[in-house]
């Protein structure tokens, strides 16, 4: 084992223990570990941004690219420089244009991607189980119908649960439609199952991380022997 591996291994073990010290509550060790992670991450991100973004995408093209490509490089450069003005409130308005450009482009891309990549495909996927044409055999049909029915019920009832519309009544308090109320209860069940699955996934991910950390520590200690 090299020295660097021992040092990195010791640091890793200490930081792991320091983070696990949160079991006893918020303590300086946990805070130190958090601050170290934040600082290292920020520094690492800055370094990555400088070395993997600015240099290859701004500096190098300005140096190596021909003159005719300069206008295409100056515009992003100017917008990037103006974005730095956001760090100073007195001249923060200079970065407004860059922020608007970024937000606008990001919103457009996100909306377009959501529609094209999520809504339409998921809508098609939701009705696809009811397309018996692609089913192979009775078992497949039953399975698809069952799967489709569950998905349909789950989707509809979950949407019904988040329907907060009420019917006006004379007593001042609105009355919820009984059908919607029942569907909301069913949707609540699907939501609970979903949260259970998510919790299970989060627990699985956390346990996996714990296992990895325990395994790393154990292997580190084993490596010394």
């Amino acid at each position: 084992m090299q020295a660097i591996d021992i040092i990195t291994g010791i640091i890793s073990c200490l930081l792991t223990i320091m983070v696990l010290s949160y079991l006893v509550g918020d303590n300086p060790l946990f805070r130190i570990a958090v601050y170290i992670f934040v600082g290292v991450s920020a520094g690492f991100v800055g370094a990555v941004a400088f070395y993997q973004v600015l240099i290859p995408k701004v500096v190098m093209p300005l140096i190596n690219s021909p003159a005719e490509n300069l206008p295409m490089l100056v515009v992003p450069l100017i917008l990037g420089v103006l974005l730095l003005a956001k760090a100073y409130p007195r001249i923060g308005w200079l970065g407004g244009t860059s922020m608007a450009f970024m937000v606008g482009v990001g919103a457009a891309v996100a909306i377009a991607g959501a529609i094209i990549g999520t809504l339409v495909p998921q809508f098609i996927a939701a009705i696809e189980p009811f397309g018996l044409g692609s089913a192979n055999g009775i078992g497949s049909v039953v399975e698809r119908l069952s799967e489709g029915t569950v998905m349909l019920i789950g989707t509809v009832t979950t949407l019904a649960y988040f329907h907060f519309g009420v019917k006006a009544s004379g007593q001042g308090a609105g009355t919820r439609n009984p059908i919607m109320r029942i569907m909301g209860l069913i949707g609540q069940f699907f939501i609970a199952v979903t949260f259970g699955v998510l919790f299970a996934g989060a627990y699985a991910a956390a346990v996996s991380a714990l296992i990895g950390r325990v395994y790393f520590i154990w292997n580190f200690f084993v490596s010394f022997f």
């Binding site: 696990l20 079991l23 006893v24 509550g25 991450s41 690492f44 991100v45 990555v48 941004a49 070395y51 993997q52 973004v53 240099i55 290859p56 190098m60 970024m102 482009v105 990001g106 891309v109 996100a110 991607g113 959501a114 094209i116 990549g117 999520t118 495909p121 998921q122 098609i124 996927a125 696809e128 979903t194 699955v197 998510l198 299970a200 996934g201 989060a202 627990y203 699985a204 991910a205 346990v207 996996s208 991380a209 714990l210 296992i211 990895g212 950390r213 325990v214 395994y215 790393f216 154990w218």
Partner: protein
């Protein structure tokens, strides 16, 4: 019944009370009509206007009402001579003036004004209520009846020769006799009343001014009195005499009418003035006419009405004895005359020069009252009238004196003369009467004739030793004085003592004070007036004799009141209340400029705001319902103020020990399999379809496929993601795939280098040869979209700056777009990142399969993309990696972690179950405790 709220103290009083039982204020205002606007108010400074007083009839004093009733029922007989105050013979104006005095005082004392007593000569405040001829419709019926009868009888009386004594002039004529005599002498009377002030012009009387004018003016004369316009003092005959006086006159005129007609006044005595000319008494402010100019006789038609009305009563003046100018002064014994009479005689200049000649033989009938020895034939006609004209006390005194033989006929004449002299000089034709004190053949001694009661007078005692030797005007003949006047003595005088009689006499002969006058009028006065003792009156009158002004009334006379106060007086008359109520309302001002005035500020619109704010009760009147509501509100407010009940602390609290125990349990249970290196837990052989699809796609890839691997997971998930992605990457490397690594996270490239370094050791992969780390892809979704649409244009170099897209021999040299990759593998720990990559790269990938190795926490959100076909294969978490290793037959890290992972899940499941059971038990225990508490 509603209570009546006191306007002063706002307290509630039972209805029906007139006076507040708390503060004594009147509850029902006296000025109801005024407040209602039915009667126009009189403002200060305005001249009172004529008012209809017919409706005030009920406000008359009781004695007047009784008289009226008697008159209406016919019970009222002609007043007996003894009941009627004897007046000096026949000075109508003077009698009228005395009537006015009497009535004025009566009105003042009774708190009301009799319209019939109002005279033009009266003060202005009476003028407003005086009923003039043109206002007869406002006069009460009973008064109209009296007036008519009086007028009719007056016409008849004018024809009678009998002199009509003034009913109540017995007091004033004595006093005025003194004053006028002194005035005739040109000096100011030492007994000038103080309230008269400086007697301007009194000593400057013109010779033609008759004593009557002076006497008449004596009452009204006061500072400013001369400013009265003639119109203001325009007399009316009907208003100059009270009803009882009229009735008296009427009764008296009846026998007189039977007598032979007496000479007309025009024939008998020169009238002092005509109706066109201002009265002589107004000459105070006029240029003094020549002294020698005698008043021209005026025709009856030229006289004012009020004078003409009394002309019938003036014959006695015509019958006056001849003045001294013609008959010569009659020497009067100094013992018989009082000092003031002597002084008046001494200071009388040649009064005979200015006095019209009067036949000395003509004596007024009243002068004959004390001549019992006169032949009855001469006195019979006048007796009846004289008896009525003399006051009974005088009659009684004279009668007593005569009966006792103390008086000689001359003394009787002198006594009578003193009694009538005042009226003589007070009458318009009294100038000759003033001459009656000149020496004449009919002299008399007052010292001898003065009765004992008269002798008690200081003046009389003084003159007892110093009787002036002034001639006295001839006394009227005894024939004109009826002897019957001495026969009747009023009841009240019967029981009177000698001292009281003397006091009365003294008050007569001394300066007259209002008290003395009222006392003398007690015979006609109501009970309250008659209750005044003569001794008291004399006591009040005595100082008035000695010192001028000493006996003046302390209270201000009406004439001295300011004009605005006088203007307000009529308002009292319109108060529709009884006299008793008015008396109740009388009070004396104690503050302000009106301090000392009595009842000068009645309720008058303008003085008191008519519109008072609506009285509101200070007591809260609530009914039962309101009380209940108030109690409810009070209860609600008290509840709000009470401290809220603190809920019992929940039994589920943050248990640090439990937390530690669970943590230690997990760590120990995870560490045990790792430490032990056991693989006792088998991996699930039932591979999920997404895993099998991923493995199949990878397996179906051509040799040396060009695979784009996206490392988008955080270092914290490196244990899970490394374990899950290692078997997939191992399979790809086994197939000789060229890996192009890219990441949208700054730490992604480091994770990629670490993972590839671990895996690539087995496959001898060299950087830039079999794999390219393009590094960090900035821009988020936009950067991903840009990379998906133009990979070479977005990231042209690897992390080391080497051109990977255009470098010859590079596996990326032929790759221009995303679909040029044989497969795309996304290693992602977040569903959001996975969604972005799926959304942005699905279309650019085309038919290129998209495989995903995701964290277990992202599976619920990413699986729909697999189900929708957007993701062709998917390996999820540690379990997926372990399964994938099992599927590929190459155990790896997944299998090493699997026991620990399985134990951790088992512990978690146990903890969940135990926790669930504990929660149910706790809930049951809590419910039981609650039931016990409720029980």
């Amino acid at each position: 019944m509603a209570d009546v709220r006191c306007p002063m103290c706002s307290t509630l009083n039972p209805e029906g009370l007139d006076i507040c039982q708390f503060c004594g204020a009147r509850l029902t205002p006296l000025t109801t009509e005024i407040a209602a606007g039915n009667i126009e108010s009189i403002h200060p400074g305005e001249q009172p206007t004529k008012k209809s007083t017919a409706e005030l009839e009920h406000a008359l004093p009781d004695w007047l009402q009784e008289l009226r009733k008697k008159q209406e029922t016919g019970e009222l007989q002609a007043p007996k001579p003894s009941e009627v105050p004897a007046a000096p013979p026949a000075i109508p104006a003077s009698s009228a003036e005395t009537d006015e005095d009497f009535l004025s005082r009566l009105a003042i004392e009774s708190g009301q004004e009799d319209t019939t007593s109002a005279k033009p000569e009266s003060t202005d405040w009476l003028a407003g209520l005086s009923a003039s001829k043109e206002g007869e419709e406002d006069i009460p019926d009973w008064l109209l009846g009296v007036r008519k009868s009086v007028e009719e009888e007056t016409q008849a009386a004018q024809l009678s020769a009998a002199s009509q004594p003034a009913p109540d002039g017995n007091l004033d004529w004595f006093k005025r006799l003194q004053e006028d005599q002194k005035a005739a002498k040109g000096e100011v009377s030492s007994e000038w009343p103080s309230f008269y002030g400086e007697p301007p012009g009194f000593g400057k009387l013109a010779p033609d001014e008759t004593p009557s004018a002076k006497a008449e003016s004596a009452d009204w004369f006061m500072p400013g009195g001369g400013e009265k316009t003639p119109d203001a003092v325009e007399p009316t005959p009907s208003t100059g005499v009270t009803d009882w006086l009229k009735r008296l006159k009427a009764k008296e005129s009846q026998p007189a009418a039977a007598e032979p007609p007496a000479p007309t006044p025009a024939e008998a005595v020169p009238l002092p003035s005509s109706s066109e000319e201002p009265p002589n008494w107004l000459s105070f402010k006029q240029t003094t006419p020549p002294a020698t100019e005698a008043p021209a006789p005026a025709a009856p038609g030229e006289l004012p009405d009020w004078l003409s009305g009394f002309q019938a009563e003036q014959p006695p003046a015509a019958e006056f004895p001849a003045p001294a100018a013609t008959a010569g002064p009659v020497p009067v014994s100094s013992q018989a005359l009082p000092d003031w009479l002597l002084a008046a005689q001494a200071e009388q200049p040649a009064a005979s020069d200015i006095a019209p000649s009067q036949p000395s033989q003509e004596k007024p009938d009243w002068l004959t009252a004390f001549e019992p020895d006169q032949p009855p034939a001469e006195s019979v006609p006048a007796k009846a009238t004289s008896d009525q004209g003399l006051p009974d006390w005088l009659v009684a005194a004279a009668a007593g004196a005569v009966a006792a033989g103390e008086l000689t006929p001359k003394e009787e004449k002198a006594l009578d003369l003193t009694g009538g002299f005042g009226e003589v000089v007070a009458s318009p034709a009294a100038q000759p009467a003033s001459q009656a004190f000149t020496p004449s053949s009919e002299t008399f001694s007052l010292d001898e004739g003065v009765p004992d009661w008269l002798s008690e007078l200081p003046g009389a005692q003084k003159h007892a030793g110093a009787a002036p030797q002034q001639p006295v005007a001839p006394a009227p003949t005894a024939a004109e004085k009826p002897a019957a006047e001495k026969s009747e003595i009023p009841d009240w005088l019967v029981g009177a003592t000698a001292s009281a009689t003397a006091a009365k006499a003294a008050s007569v002969f001394t300066e007259q004070s209002p008290t003395a006058g009222e006392e003398a009028l007690a015979m006609e006065m109501p009970d309250w007036l008659s209750s005044v003792k003569p001794a008291e009156a004399s006591a009040a009158a005595l100082p008035a004799q000695g010192e001028p002004g000493a006996g003046a009334p302390e209270s201000l006379t009406p004439g001295e009141l300011p004009s605005w106060v006088q203007a307000m007086r009529p308002v009292e008359a319109v108060i529709s209340e009884t006299a008793g109520d008015v008396d109740d309302e009388q009070f004396i001002e104690s503050q302000g400029p009106l301090a000392g005035f009595q009842n000068v500020l009645p309720f008058v619109p303008g003085l008191i705001a008519i519109r008072r704010p609506a009285p509101y009760s200070s007591k809260l009147k609530v009914n039962t319902g309101q009380q209940n509501n108030a109690a409810l509100l009070e209860g609600l407010l008290s509840i709000e103020s009470d401290a809220a009940r603190v809920k019992p602390e929940s039994s589920l609290r943050y248990n640090r020990f439990l937390r530690w125990m669970i943590a230690m349990l997990l760590i120990v249970m995870v560490a045990i399999p790792i430490v032990l290196g056991s693989q006792f837990t088998p991996v699930n052989p039932l591979f999920p379809p997404d895993l099998m699809a991923a493995e199949k796609i990878i397996t179906d890839l051509p040799a040396d496929p060009n695979v784009l691997v996206v490392f988008d997971y955080e270092p914290a998930f490196s244990g899970e993601m490394g374990t899950a992605s290692a078997p997939v990457l191992d399979q790809l490397m086994a197939k000789g795939a060229d890996l192009t690594v890219v990441t949208s996270l700054p730490t992604g490239s480091v994770q990629a280098n670490q993972l590839l370094a671990t895996i690539l050791r087995s496959y001898n992969y060299l950087a830039g040869n079999k794999y390219v780390n393009l590094g960090y892809l900035p821009g988020g979704a936009a950067g991903i979209y840009n990379f998906a649409t133009n990979p070479s244009g977005t990231i042209s170099t690897d992390v080391k700056g080497n051109q990977v897209w255009s470098t010859p021999g590079s596996f990326l040299s032929d790759t221009r777009q995303l679909s040029d990759f044989d497969a795309m593998l996304i290693l992602v720990d977040s569903s959001e990142t996975a969604r972005v990559w799926i959304e942005q790269s699905r279309l650019p990938l085309g038919t290129t399969p998209l495989l995903m190795v995701i964290s277990a926490q992202a599976e619920p959100m990413v699986r729909p993309y697999y189900d929708s076909g957007q993701v062709q294969g998917m390996v999820t978490g540690l379990a997926g990696g372990a399964s994938y290793e099992l599927r590929t037959g190459k155990p790896g890290m997944g299998r090493n972690y699997w026991d620990a992972f399985a134990v951790a899940f088992f512990v978690a499941e146990v903890i969940v179950v135990v926790g669930g059971i504990w929660a149910l038990f706790a809930a049951w225990q809590s419910r039981r405790a609650r039931k016990e508490e409720e029980a």
